[in-house]
């Protein structure tokens, strides 16, 4: 579900990335027959070709799901924004020297990471629904944000801790407060380090957003299911749904890869 990158940037960068976000293409994998090219253009080709070859039902599926795609993006984008905010607060809490805040953030991370996202979603929508009666879209976004906030928190923590200690010392020696040093010196550097892992989280979240179809939010998967259950074209529908997800995630994985490369080679 999430990638936790312990990244050390500085001139010598050792990077261990274990991620199930999506396959991030390597630099140097420039060949036309790179895995990314085969997957992306293969999927894109099929999405275009299948409706041409066999408009019934592929073209109808394509016509049926666009508002689902929009809903998927809506859930993903809103959730990632909240997850980033929660993540920043959590990350700061995780490095806080105030014991209470530190413990609170750590417990949050441990608890959330220990519960499957689907269970969290059920819990917020069905279990807490008894007291809160949340709108299903709100519940879905809430669950995704809270869950990914915990993972983002770990990314922020790792990012902040990857900045050499001397940076904080230099800022403090100038007379800055810790807060100023964090805001003006540490976090701007952290952003550059954590942008790629955040991109990864975005892709993972986009995929996990398909879980919200369970609480009847009409995202891409849900729309596909609606179509399939009335037409019984299960194979054709889910093939298209899978291909559309693939095109989207591969597209964003390329964006993340380009971003990563820019950051590494962009001077500064």
């Amino acid at each position: 579900m999430a990638s936790v990158n312990e990244t050390k940037t500085q001139s010598t960068s050792t990077q261990i990335t274990v991620s199930d976000g999506a396959l991030i293409p390597d630099r140097g994998e420039g060949s036309i027959f790179s895995a990314w090219n085969i997957s992306f253009f293969g999927a894109l080709g099929l999405v275009v070709l299948l409706p041409v070859i066999s408009p019934e039902p592929y073209l109808e599926v394509i016509r049926f799901v666009p508002d689902g795609i929009l809903k998927t993006f809506q859930v993903t984008l809103i959730s990632i924004v909240f997850a980033l905010i929660i993540g920043l607060i959590t990350g700061l809490g995780r490095i806080s020297r105030v014991v209470f805040l530190n413990r609170l953030a750590t417990v949050y991370v441990e608890v959330i990471r220990g519960i499957p996202l689907l269970v969290q979603l059920f819990y917020i929508y069905f279990a807490l629904g008894r007291f809160l009666s949340l709108d299903r879209l709100v519940a879905a976004i809430l669950a995704m944000s809270i869950c990914y906030g915990a993972y983002m928190g770990e990314i922020f923590r790792a990012g902040i801790q990857s900045i050499p200690k001397g940076q904080m010392e230099a800022a403090l020696a100038l007379g800055m407060s810790r807060r100023q040093a964090l805001r003006l010196v540490i976090l701007p550097q952290t952003m550059r380090t954590i942008l790629p892992p955040i991109g990864n989280e975005f892709i993972a979240l986009l995929k996990d957003s398909s879980l919200v179809s369970i609480v009847a939010v009409s995202d891409l998967l849900r729309r596909g299911r609606e179509y399939a259950s009335t037409t019984f074209y299960y194979f054709e529908t889910y093939t298209m749904v899978a291909l559309i997800y693939l095109v989207i995630t591969l597209f964003f994985s390329k964006v993340v890869a380009i971003m990563e490369e820019r950051l590494e080679h962009g001077g500064r």
């Binding site: 050499p164 001397g166 230099a170 020696a173 100038l174 007379g175 100023q180 550097q189 500064r268």
Partner: protein, 245 residues
């Protein structure tokens, strides 16, 4: 004596757990004086220096900058740090800011100076350290010597009363040491009060009023550069000097 000393370190001990990094060390730096602390690695000299602006908190003893008590746990250390410039072995420039922004950041954010004022001063300081043409350059496009000169300018931008140097040339390639020492020498001649941890004998003889030898956390002896280098009274000092000369 006490009246004209800018930095006063009195019986300072610093413990890390059970390890005593600094043992009952005392030294003073008078107004306009340049004091060099030498000693083998692990002798506690950097730790002592870092206690002066409280990057490390002294376990025992007192440190004063003029009339401000650094070791007062309730004192506002930030106000003291504004008046104590520090230069690090590893430069510690902010890599996301240009040379000019590195220098202007402190005055603008800590002293709340208008942007124009802090940038003008930064330009003047860059010229003073011989890097007028590098204002828009990011640190990783500067050589080590250039980075350290920007770091000195960054510390000077706060208009400090005293400057601390923590092995400022130790991370530099030999051909870059001189350009940094020249800047420090100029600073000493301009009357800056300086406490320097370094083994640069040439700089010591040219600029230091006093050399302090530390070993194993203790101040072993101190005196003029000539006294300590040419006529050391302590056996430990003699042995150390044989190693570095």
């Amino acid at each position: 004596m006490a009246a004209d000393s800018r930095i006063r370190i009195e019986n300072v001990t610093k413990r890390f757990g059970t390890i005593e990094a600094v043992k009952n060390a005392s030294l003073t730096v008078a107004e306009g004086e340049v004091v060099l602390v030498i000693g083998p690695s692990g002798s506690g000299k950097s730790t002592l220096l870092r206690c002066v602006n409280r990057l490390e908190t002294a376990t025992e003893g007192e440190i004063w900058i003029d009339n401000d008590r650094v070791t007062d746990p309730h004192g506002n250390i930030r106000l003291i740090r504004e008046e104590v410039g520090m230069v690090f072995q590893s430069f510690n420039l902010f890599p996301h800011l240009t040379a000019l922004e590195n220098i202007a950041l402190g005055p603008r954010k800590v002293k709340r100076e208008p942007r124009g004022v802090s940038r003008d001063r930064a330009r003047t300081l860059l010229a003073r350290v011989g890097l007028a043409d590098k204002e828009d350059t990011y640190p990783n496009h500067l050589s080590g010597g250039q980075q350290q000169r920007v770091a000195i300018a960054r510390a000077l931008a706060m208009e400090p009363k005293v400057m601390l140097f923590d092995e400022p040339t130790s991370a530099l390639d030999p051909e870059m040491i001189k350009e940094v020492l020249d800047v420090m020498l100029q600073l000493a001649q301009d009357g800056m009060t300086m406490l320097v941890v370094s083994h640069e004998m040439g700089f010591a003889r040219a600029a230091a009023d006093k050399v302090v030898f530390m070993d194993n956390g203790e101040v072993i002896e101190s005196g003029t550069p000539e006294d300590v280098f040419d006529r050391p009274t302590e056996e430990r000092t003699r042995r150390f000097l044989q190693h570095i000369l």
